[in-house]
């Protein structure tokens, strides 16, 4: 089965202060939690969902409960809903 590929979409502007990051889209500002921000940044070049999961596990460790792949799938779904990534 072909892996979904995730690609970050450009934002208008980005602001980082004190470990927090704001992203400005066309009509709103969003603040991402560290995991979602890492996923967004890791998808600056198109990345397969499995590879993205591996990158995030390497950085944050495996989740204490549940499956890392399911967790990252949920994060990507949130980014899709915000208009921050596209999936193909």
């Amino acid at each position: 089965m072909t892996q979904p590929v995730v690609r970050a979409l450009d934002v208008v502007d980005r602001l980082e202060r004190d470990g927090r990051t704001l992203l400005l889209l066309e009509h709103r500002v969003v603040e991402l939690n560290p995991l979602a921000l890492a996923a967004y940044d890791a998808a600056s070049e198109p990345v397969a969902l499995d590879a993205l999961t591996g990158t995030l596990v390497d950085r944050f460790g495996a989740p204490p409960d549940g499956d890392a792949g399911d967790l990252v799938r949920g994060v990507v779904d949130e980014l899709l809903a915000l208009g921050l990534v596209a999936e193909s």
């Binding site: 208008v12 980005r14 602001l15 202060r17 004190d18 704001l22 400005l24 009509h27």
Partner: protein, 249 residues
Amino acid sequence: MTTLDLYGLGVHSRVTVEGPRTDELLDALRAVWSRCLAPRGGEVPGEDLALTLEGDPAPLLQRFTQDVTQAAIKAQRGRLFMFHAGAVTSPATGATLAYVAPGGTGKTTLSAVLGRTHGYVTDETVGFTPDGRVLPYEKPLSVRPKDFTGVKVETSPDELGLAHVHPDAHLRRFVLIRRDASLSAPQVEELGVLDAIVQLASESSSLSSLPAPLQTLAAFLEARPPTLLVTYAEAEQARDLLVDALEES
């Protein structure tokens, strides 16, 4: 048919007034837009608007104010920072306090209260350049008449006795306002720059059309006194606190 020129938010709008009641409508427009009849200089051209009076002038004038506001915002897209806010200036210095809130939160009432002593800038949309120069928009205020039947009446800041804007209006401080009828005294909270930006962005017009808007707005806020979140029940209750927030900053 005749034309009327209006100036506000740094925009020149030309209004064509038509129909058998042209004179009546022109008189009403000149009265309620009394502070927007003369240019300040440097206005950008806005949309040409047309107006014909049929029936009751009150709802027509109210809609017209909204049309002028939207046209001015459109004309300044990509040029100004613009927020849903009322604002007043210090009579001594021109330092400007902008109180930001969604519609229906009480910006007009607060403008009428603060404007008794501090120059009326606007009760709807504050526009300023990245270096903080405020472009006043001294529009009519929509106020409830004594015999309120659902239609507010456009009323000139002159008729309400509001003070005139300082000629050197420059934005000094933002306040986010919220209403809570249960409060017996206003509550104040200082916001960090990021939290302020999140709140301000939701009440901005075309923020994304400016160059590096988050970076620019952050630098702007960091160079000024902290943005305040003020929650109050009635405008009179918050007056002294807001005046202090401007004058002490």
